[in-house]
């Protein structure tokens, strides 16, 4: 069954703001496909984003949408989930936004286990501002502020999210969009803080500086790096160096979800307001 | 003559000086239909930093809640006493824990000073060091008569957890007794001099009345 994408889009806002060949469109398409699988109503969904290329995604979807400040999508999404616990709240933002300037909010939302779906559109670079290195830029690769090759270690988003207490953690990539859609759907369905590390491709800012300026070449490069979780189990540490392991890494159905825990705390007695 | 009294409860964080001030102010408001304010000053040091609670009780609305002409000061710590004694009026009543605060002979002439081992008594005779502030409240009320002690008892009953009420009531009563003993002692020492000299007069109902404040 094909997906009626225009149904979920603000079609008058097209074409997309992203560069031709950008991987972000693949991630957004996978997300809409996952939502279509779930038959969720547009009125029931809120997409919140921060600042950056990926964060512009919120403008294109015909949901409730809030384009916040740099790094601040997660606390905004947290508040909206608390205000309307029955609505589905999705954060769609980039690696710099969510892991650098918004890193503190990210780990605390994981810890809190609030039922929001955090899609880290991870293209390893600050695209919009001109290709500066981000917390996920692979060591050795070039960026506009690391022309000699990155000396800064990078975050493993999966390990970070799991360590911080997220109860659903997966990684997919634009090289395997069908699998990515599957991980996104499972993340959306999960009742708790879910994190999907969605490896995207920025040929303009990252690829061009690293001999992968052609978008197709860059997606091929990502595909060549990708190893599924099952296959990774039999590889040695050395063999896994420089590889991207994809799959669902963690799901905890026991940990209490925050909005639910708060609801249980509440005993509404509205008439008892002071005075 | 409109009633007005300024009190300061000074010590270090953890001694309960804030609560002592609150109890006196609440008594005046809830049971004596007077205006009262309590404004605390403290530091970010949760335990051991210099703290004070200023309480003003008046027949008139209180505009400025910081005490500037003190009629009474409780001091449970030397450093805090030294920091905050500057606002005491001449002949003001000063109650100190005399194990913890030293007062010079000159200051003893300036003020009407009462010394008592408040904290030690709370610890060994009442049996709970945390009741020292309530013991001090008992002494304050008995020495100043600024509020009625029966009214204070009502506030204590409403504010203190049932499990701790008995020991606090014991502390309060011991404070009253200790204050009476000190007053008697002072009367004997002075042998004929007036107990409350200067600007204070003992009114018929034993309330503590002050002449209008001299402008400074």
């Amino acid at each position: 069954m094909s997906v009626d994408y225009p149904r979920y889009l603000r079609n008058d806002k097209l074409p997309l703001y992203w560069c031709p060949g950008c991987g972000n469109g693949i991630v957004l398409k996978a997300l809409l496909g996952a939502i279509d699988d779930l038959r969720w109503e547009k009125d029931d969904m809120v997409m919140v984003s921060g600042i950056g290329c990926a964060a512009r995604g919120s403008g294109y979807v015909d949901f409730h949408t809030l384009h916040t400040l740099h790094g601040r999508a997660v606390p905004a999404a947290t508040a909206i989930k608390m205000c309307h616990p029955s609505m589905h709240v999705i954060v769609f933002s980039g690696d710099g936004d969510m892991l650098a300037i918004g890193g503190n909010h990210f780990i605390h939302a994981c810890r809190r286990n609030i039922n929001i779906t955090m899609v880290v559109v991870n293209n390893w670079i600050y695209g919009m501002t001109g290709g500066q290195y981000s917390p996920t830029t692979p060591p050795g690769s070039k960026a506009s502020t690391m022309p000699q090759g990155n000396i800064d270690s990078n975050f493993d988003v999966v390990e970070l999210a799991r360590g911080a207490g997220a109860t659903f953690v997966a990684r997919g990539s634009v090289a395997e969009p069908a699998l990515l859609k599957n991980y996104l759907r499972k993340g959306l369905e999960h009742k708790g803080a879910s994190v999907i590390d969605a490896i995207s491709s920025c040929h303009t800012q990252w690829g061009g500086r690293n001999q992968l300026g052609d978008p197709v070449q860059l997606v091929e490069h990502i595909r060549n790096m990708t190893v599924s979780r099952n296959n990774a189990d039999v590889l040695s540490r050395e063999e896994l160096t420089g590889k991207l392991v994809t799959g669902i890494f963690h799901q905890d159905l026991e940990k209490k979800e925050y909005a639910q825990a708060y609801a249980e705390l509440s005993r509404p007695v509205e008439q008892n307001v002071v005075v | 003559m409109a009633f007005r009294c300024e009190l300061r409860f000074a010590g270090v964080g953890g001694q309960g000086n804030m609560l002592a001030g609150t109890i006196i102010a609440e008594t005046a408001i809830l049971h004596e239909h007077r205006f009262a304010t309590q404004v605390p000053t403290y530091t970010s040091q949760v335990r051991g930093g210099p703290t004070k609670a200023d309480v003003i009780i008046s027949d008139n609305h209180i505009e400025f809640p910081e005490a500037t002409h003190l009629d009474f000061m409780l001091a449970l710590d030397q450093r805090t006493y030294d920091m905050y004694k500057g606002d005491l009026k001449n002949h003001a009543l000063v109650l100190i824990d005399d194990n913890l605060v030293r007062i010079s002979a000159r200051e003893r002439d300036l003020w009407d000073v009462y010394g008592f081992p408040i904290i030690r008594t709370a610890k060994y005779e009442v049996g709970n060091v945390l009741t020292a502030n309530i013991l001090a409240v008992g002494m304050t009320v008995e020495l100043t008569r600024v509020v009625d002690k029966e009214h204070v008892r009502k506030i204590l009953q409403s504010r203190i957890r049932p499990a701790l009420l008995e020991v606090n009531m014991k502390a309060f009563d011991m404070g009253i007794q200790a204050a009476r003993a000190l007053q008697l002692q002072k009367i004997n020492q002075r042998a004929g001099t007036t107990l409350l000299a200067g600007q204070f007069v003992q009114a018929q109902d034993s309330s503590f009345v002050r002449e209008s404040a001299p402008p400074t």
Binding site: H64, T65, H67, L69, Y262, V273 | H33
Partner: protein, 380 residues
């Protein structure tokens, strides 16, 4: 006096927020604002509201603004260092035109400053803390009762003008406890945000008309069926970004004018014994109480002094102060900082009066005697 309640300024602000309809609070622990979250942590679940202690000050203001986007009346509270961090969120709420109440319990500064001591040194930060052209409403309660009534007024103005409103309290007012008789609820005006009348498909979050410069915004009940976009970028009537110069200029002007055209309704001030006065004192917040005692004492000594006390401190009561300049040869400004509002006063006086300051940044309140002394000097 059965209806007397003993509360401090912070508790009164928190209770007033609930009465005003606030059902979302997010904050981060900071002295001297603590009693506000402590009270709301207990009370919010009882009234079907949400209390959140978040990971930092920035998360708190962004969450409070997002709750407002989601239809809730919402609030955050902090003190100077936290308000410094919140500035980007205040700017976002200005740009998105989200109703929001921000309590600033002022303490000494800059930096960590004097965590437990009184100050009024956030006066200018309140006005110009966030970047970009914008207008802000700020109220400075001077008494415990005003902590209550001004908080309700702050929520009402936030909803009416779709804007953040700042309550400038201070450490003295925050921790002053005394008996307060609160007005009955029936006597309080509670403003609800204007609701869209168009069907959801035609709703535009910034659609204004010449007669209504403040567009409707869905409340908690209506939010789920009204889908719209909001951004911190300059926006057009639809809520989507625009860089069209004419459109941006018009929107920037409108955001300022939606407040400045209504200063008559927003302004609040007190004239205290000004009618026959020869010297005027200008003071606000808890410091005005020291001025009041000084004025009483001065009058008992035959000196004719009065006070102008702004309660709405932003927008600055320019017209009011300009008129004082026509009447008074000497004007004394007293504030608990080294000179902030005095600059606004100077601008409004346009050189008409001689201006004197009683300024202090010692962490202790200005005493009535200090203001009295200045009154004597000026009157001599």
């Amino acid at each position: 006096m059965a209806d007397v309640q003993i509360m401090n300024g912070n508790q009164l602000i928190a209770e007033a927020a609930l009465v005003a309809g606030c059902r979302f609070y997010a904050g981060y622990p900071i002295t001297p604002s603590s009693e506000i979250p402590e009270l709301l942590a207990r009370r919010m679940p009882e009234v079907g509201g949400i209390f959140m202690q978040l990971e930092d000050e920035i998360a708190s203001i962004v969450a409070a603004a997002a709750a407002s986007y989601a239809g809730y009346k919402s609030m955050t509270a902090s003190s100077g260092p936290g308000i410094s961090l919140k500035q980007e969120g205040i700017g976002m709420a200005c740009m998105m035109e989200l109703p929001l109440v921000i309590v600033d319990v002022m303490r000494g500064g800059p930096s960590t400053g004097l965590p437990t001591r009184a100050s009024q040194s956030d006066y200018m930060q309140t006005r110009w803390g966030t970047h970009g052209d914008h207008m802000i409403i700020a109220v400075a309660p001077g008494t415990l009762l005003e902590c209550y009534t001004e908080t309700i007024r702050a929520f009402n103005m936030a909803e009416r003008y779709r804007t953040p409103v700042i309550i400038l309290s201070d450490a003295t007012l925050a921790h002053l406890s005394s008996g307060v008789t609160l007005p009955p609820r029936s006597a309080l005006e509670i403003v609800e945000r204007q609701q869209p009348t168009v069907d959801p498909a035609n709703y535009r979050p910034y659609e204004t008309s010449p007669t209504n410069p403040v567009p409707p915004l869905p409340n908690r009940e209506n939010f789920p069926r009204y889908r719209f976009h909001m951004t911190g970028l300059n926006k057009d009537a639809t809520g989507f970004p625009t860089e069209n110069p004419a459109s941006v200029q018009a929107d920037e002007n409108r955001m300022i004018n939606k407040i400045m055209d209504y200063t008559g309704a927003i302004e609040s001030f007190e004239h205290y014994q000004l009618d026959d006065a020869q010297v005027a004192v200008i003071a606000y917040g808890s410091n005005a109480n020291a001025a009041r005692v000084a004025i009483k004492e001065a009058r008992s000594q035959g000196l004719k002094v009065g006070m102008f006390r702004p309660i709405t401190v932003w927008p600055f009561p320019f017209q009011q102060v300009m008129e004082l300049g026509r009447k008074f040869k000497h004007i004394i400004v007293s504030e608990l900082n080294l000179g902030q509002m005095i600059h606004e006063v100077q601008r409004a006086l346009q050189g008409r009066s001689e201006l004197h300051g009683v300024l202090q940044a010692a962490g202790t309140p200005i005493r009535p005697q200090q203001i009295l002394q200045k009154i004597r000097e000026v009157s001599a």
